[in-house]
Symmetry: C2
Subunit: 389 residues, 2 copies
DNA sequence: AATAAATTCTTGACGAAGTTAATTTATGCT
DNA sequence: AGCATAAATTAACTTCGTCAAGAATTTATT
């Protein structure tokens, strides 16, 4: 586990955590309304809120516009003070580091992007530490920052802060949390990148208020994070959300050993390979393929269409199995989503079963710093929701 | 909601429910061990157990064989007294009623099978009431029976006890719980049949001790019940677990409007249709098809093999998405599982991603009264686990 | 046999967390 | 001004579970 004991915001009881989480994610709400939504008594809300107000995390807003009958003491909604604490989030890829500073609401206040020189642990640790310093000095952040979130792709144990396996970095069993806590002096939360993005979406994005939803990322790989009954699905053996390896076609072999995986059709690599095949140009890049398709090359357009079809079927499988309220599809691959959105939605609509099709489907490109914001959101979550692992 | 307020077993606190549930599902355990497994103090266990012992639901066993170092006061494990209360479970199909009486552990003590004359509500209600009476009089059950569980296929609201939609019975919005409580004098719990079977498996079967697992039924339809982080997945729009409509092939159209659904390949109806095609015999039945395949007819064997393949791929999709600890495959279709087990396991093993493949896969035929036992298990659950809906 | 050590179970005092019900505060309406 | 109304607060009380001490029941040792 992370060596540093995390700074504990004034969470004095389960009720305090519930109240604060609601206010953090659902904006200013009066005490009475908080009580109604959480099922607590309004007396309990008053007690829970007091220490947060005293410590500067919450403030009372002047009573807003009146809604109900028109008499009675006006409500003074409780609101987060986002500047009370800052968080650093870092995403580590094989090639670079992306870092952000966010406020309590996970709104980005500063961001930096560094190339990553090498993959050995010591090098990465000092590069991250340097990036953190640079970020903290880019504004008046230092004395109100105590938590750092780090996200990377691969098998990561949040509890222990270990990187069990990272293919991109070539790491196995690296105690990254410990190393980075020593190097930065901040309390660290380490999480898988897709899970981090899912948590950001659950607390501060499309998933707010939904007890069950999914985030799907499309890019070099295709993966997803699932939230069911309010909790992130982790998988008994550490595998979950592998929508990229759901079989949806008879055809292509996948690097995983399976056949017809979504990822074997719709990953960046698969699309490029197929575009090279249909154009006969072995040097074609993704950007060029996108240009060709947008210019009207029917063969290349069809490659994207098939990718959209495969993703749509994968989404339908996901939705038929667990019936989320909403699904967000995002990732680098979505920068070209004009090329496959139609096919994706059509395949999804045809295959989603009954009222599962009513599930909202949001497609949205993913700015690169969003990954780092996800890491920061995980840090926010572990500060205020000690329940989560 | 059901009109009758349920008889409340001596559940005096959350801890009492936790302790009793553990003992009910995991057999005799000493107080100290219960404390260890639940995270409660041993004092809390003593207090929680007392009223259950007083009311005859639990008893203290004579100390069993000693395990540890060898000194100290021997443990006297707490054990359920299964005869303390009986439960009736009824499964309603389009053609018949299957009913059982079970004890607290959901062990079947008596069972009956009636044909169902018609589908109108009044008729079904009186047929069920008659079956209940017959069951209760078939042994010394009456005065220790207060709860009835009813399971049927379709869209069912457990909370309100309403049948929202049942295709087999042709019902819409029938307040069945209310009607049956009046007719039988028992407290009723109504649940979807697959969910009921899943709950039975979660509490008294393969799912015991697993926080995440799945039950898949293969027969006229193909469906599944999913348990994630200890809770049954319900779907935001009432749809979940529809593994039957996960697309796994390019080919056949499904009655749902989709393409390549597992159900379009591996349901009883699909198998029979395909067997008729390959044999050229339009009158072939399922039993005959099974006989032909077992006798070595290669074309028919291949029909079953393809069904096994499709189910295996569907399971892989499920496992890649959720990562359950265990999966149980069951249903009427499993009576012929010698004909597709190999293909099923092979397709599953090839497509399951990474360590998700370590998930245990149990194939097992489903005795017809198991459906009714599922209904009884739901009644047991709603008596002792008020938290569940 | 007597004593020590180990382990389970029980008891009663205590404390944390949240509820209920009464009270205070702040507003609109007449 | 005076009353109605609704939000927020306060204080007493309830509930649940922990803690720490001790009773119970066994094995091991002198």
């Amino acid at each position: 586990m992370p060596r540093r004991t995390p700074p504990r915001a004034p969470i004095t009881s389960p009720a305090a955590a519930t109240v604060f989480e609601l206010l953090l994610t659902q904006g200013p709400i009066s005490r009475v309304e908080v009580a109604r939504r959480t099922g607590l008594s309004s007396a309990a809300v008053t007690k829970a809120a007091r220490p947060f107000i005293a410590a500067g995390y919450l403030e009372e807003l002047a009573s807003g516009e009146r809604v109900g009958p028109g008499a009675g003491r006006p409500a003074s909604p409780l609101a987060i003070r986002p500047d009370r604490e800052y968080f650093v989030g870092i995403k580590i890829t094989g090639d670079d580091l992306i870092g952000v500073v966010t406020d309590l609401r996970a709104e980005v206040r500063a961001s930096r992007h560094h190339a990553l020189g090498g993959h050995d642990v010591g090098h990465v640790v000092s590069a991250v530490a340097e990036l953190v310093t640079e970020l903290l000095e880019s504004g008046d952040f230092r004395e109100r920052t105590h938590c750092l979130g780090v996200a990377l792709s691969g098998d990561v144990d949040r509890e222990s802060g270990q990187v069990r396996y990272s293919p991109f970095l070539g790491w196995r069993d690296v105690p990254l949390a410990e190393l980075l806590e020593d190097a930065t002096g901040l309390t660290l939360t380490l999480e898988n990148d897709v899970k981090a993005l899912t948590i950001a979406e659950q607390w501060f994005g499309e998933g707010v208020g939904a007890s069950t939803f999914a985030l799907v990322t499309v890019g070099a790989g295709i993966g997803s994070g699932l939230v069911v009954n309010g909790g992130l699905v982790s998988g008994a053996h550490g595998v979950a959300g592998e929508i990229g390896h759901v079989p949806v076609a008879a055809g292509p072999l996948c690097h995983c050993g399976g056949t017809g995986c979504v990822e074997a059709i719709a990953s960046t690599e698969a699309i490029v390979a197929r575009a090279r095949l249909v154009t006969g140009e072995p040097g074609l890049t993704m950007d060029q393929a996108v240009d060709r398709a947008r210019a009207g090359d029917l063969a290349v357009r069809d490659v994207f269409a098939q990718a959209g079809h495969a993703i749509g079927l994968g989404l339908a499988a996901l939705v038929n199995l667990f019936g989320p309220e909403r699904v967000v599809v995002s990732g680098e691959g979505l920068s070209a989503f004009d090329l496959f959105e139609d096919q994706l939605r059509q395949a999804f609509a045809a295959q989603a079963f009954g009222s599962a099709a009513r599930c909202g489907l949001a497609l949205r490109p993913l700015p690169f710093e969003e990954w780092a914001r996800g890491a920061a959101a995980v840090a926010v979550q572990s500060l205020f929701s000690p329940g989560q692992p």
